[in-house]
């Protein structure tokens, strides 16, 4: 019956609130904008509910709408500063050093906090498509296939976007660690030991 199918789709859509809101929160960086983004996403979803075929693709479908709304809002604002850095040129060197090894729990927590702050600011500097792919995966918990449906691009493109995004984050963390003087210098012998272990 069409009515029952409709109810099931509505239920499925409402089941995405949490993932959508959390992703929207990390995309926008604040609660009010995240709520606006999700509310608009749901308004558009209700309007185009008939375009949703089956329940299997509900989550990617909702994330696709979220992405469209987000891009629309960015276009309207159009004043967001772009801080794209050429990571290959600037930040290759830090990764020649290994991440610090911290056994003390308290030190580890402080280091995590330091890294997390750096990651948040690094995510904000990613290109929109890289940021969307990364947050859809990390916060929205979508698979590569679901991200490709949500972003309407092939899985290969998703892989390369995630690779580029995470490579930037790796470079940022390494550079940050070096600037704070918490980098661990490893010798060739130590590396060999690591390998043997």
């Amino acid at each position: 019956m069409p009515g029952k199918e409709y109810d099931a789709r509505e239920e499925a859509i409402l089941g995405c609130i949490e993932a959508l809101y959390r992703t929207a929160f990390r995309l926008t960086g604040n609660k009010a904008q995240a709520e606006d983004l999700v509310q608009e996403t749901y308004l558009r979803a209700w309007r185009s509910l008939s375009q949703l075929h089956g329940l299997a693709g509900v989550q990617p479908w909702m994330f696709r709408i979220l992405r469209t709304v987000f891009i629309d809002q960015l276009r309207r604002a159009s004043s967001r500063p772009k801080l794209i850095t050429d990571v290959d040129k600037v930040l290759t060197a830090p990764e020649q050093l290994a991440p610090p090894e911290v056994s003390n729990v308290r030190d580890r927590c402080e280091l995590d906090e330091l890294f997390d702050q750096e990651i948040i600011s690094a995510i904000a500097e990613l290109s929109d498509e890289e940021r969307l792919a990364l947050l859809f995966q990390a916060v929205g918990e979508l698979s590569y296939r679901e991200i490709s449906e949500a972003l309407e691009c092939p899985i290969g493109t998703v892989m390369s976007r995630l690779h580029r995004a995470k490579r930037r984050l790796r470079h940022r963390l390494a550079a940050h660690a070096r600037n704070y003087g918490i980098m661990r210098t490893t010798s060739r012998e130590e590396e060999q030991k690591d390998a043997e272990a």
């Binding site: 999700v38 308004l43 698979s143 690779h163």
Partner: protein
């Protein structure tokens, strides 16, 4: 198992971490990492990033209960619900729209069909002129005519006495299923038919102009027709007179004689 070089492995590290590689490629990456300190260092940085992303996800706040309620509120989905109804019940909506269209067309046609035309009165007046429809009461006495109309129609207009016109008689009939009274006047061989009824005469089809006093004026089959409403009684004059002369008579009717209904 294919051997992978460092750039290839470094490009696959994220997919390797996310278990999105096929088993053969995954084993090749693992094997390379085991023997390559440079790539292993990259891998460890990636693990730091992934751990940080995990913490980021865990520390992301959930939607508040108030916000969830807002999303669930019917008001926020009302427009779509209506659209959704039409989309879901397309066939029913189509049938209902068609039925509405038929009903609407029917109403319009019925209204047009039931709406009388001044032509009916003009033709009746022509019959009168040719004595094909004679008056029922022959009298020149206006009071007698008033009483007679009251008996036959249930109401009696004050019968005017337009200058130079002589009352010939009165008649009652039905035009377009409406009871109508007729007063027939004559002046110099020219006849003036004055129709009275309760329903508005100005709503008839066939008028072209309206004077500032609200008198409707039209021409039908070579004769001029004027009509006006006066309270709950309505008048229509047909005569083979020039337009200005007929308007002058109408003016005399409206200003010179009271049109109050005598029950």
């Amino acid at each position: 198992m294919p051997k992978l070089n460092c750039p290839e492995v470094q490009n696959l590290l994220e997919a390797f971490h996310d278990n999105e590689l096929d088993s053969v490629t995954s084993l090749s990456v693992q094997e390379h990492l085991d023997g390559c300190p440079d790539c292993r260092r990259q891998w460890r940085w990636l693990c730091e990033v992934e751990a940080s992303l995990q913490r980021l996800s865990e520390s992301t706040p959930s939607a508040t209960r108030d916000f969830r309620r807002r999303i669930l509120q019917p008001a926020s989905r009302q427009p779509s619900a209506m659209l959704a109804f039409f989309r879901t019940h397309r066939r029913m909506t189509g049938v209902a729209s068609l039925a509405l269209l038929f009903v609407f067309t029917g109403i319009v046609l019925l209204t047009e069909w039931t709406r009388a035309d001044v032509m009916l009165f003009v033709r009746d007046s022509v019959k009168m002129a040719q004595n094909a429809a004679p008056v029922d009461l022959h009298t020149s006495n206006t009071e007698e005519a008033e009483q007679w109309l009251k008996r036959h129609l249930g109401f009696a207009p004050t019968v005017p006495d337009p200058t130079g016109f002589k009352l010939l008689g009165a008649r009652s009939c039905h035009i377009n299923r409406e009871p109508v009274g007729l007063l027939l006047f004559e002046r110099d061989g020219q006849r003036l038919a004055c129709y009275v009824r309760r329903a508005s005469m100005t709503a008839l089809r066939g008028f072209d102009e309206t004077t500032p006093q609200g008198i409707k004026l039209g021409t039908c089959e070579g004769r001029h027709v004027v009509a006006w409403d006066a309270g709950d009684i309505s008048y229509l004059l047909v005569a083979d007179l020039p337009k200005y002369a007929l308007l002058a008579v109408a003016d005399e009717f409206t200003n010179g004689a009271p049109h109050s209904l005598k029950q």
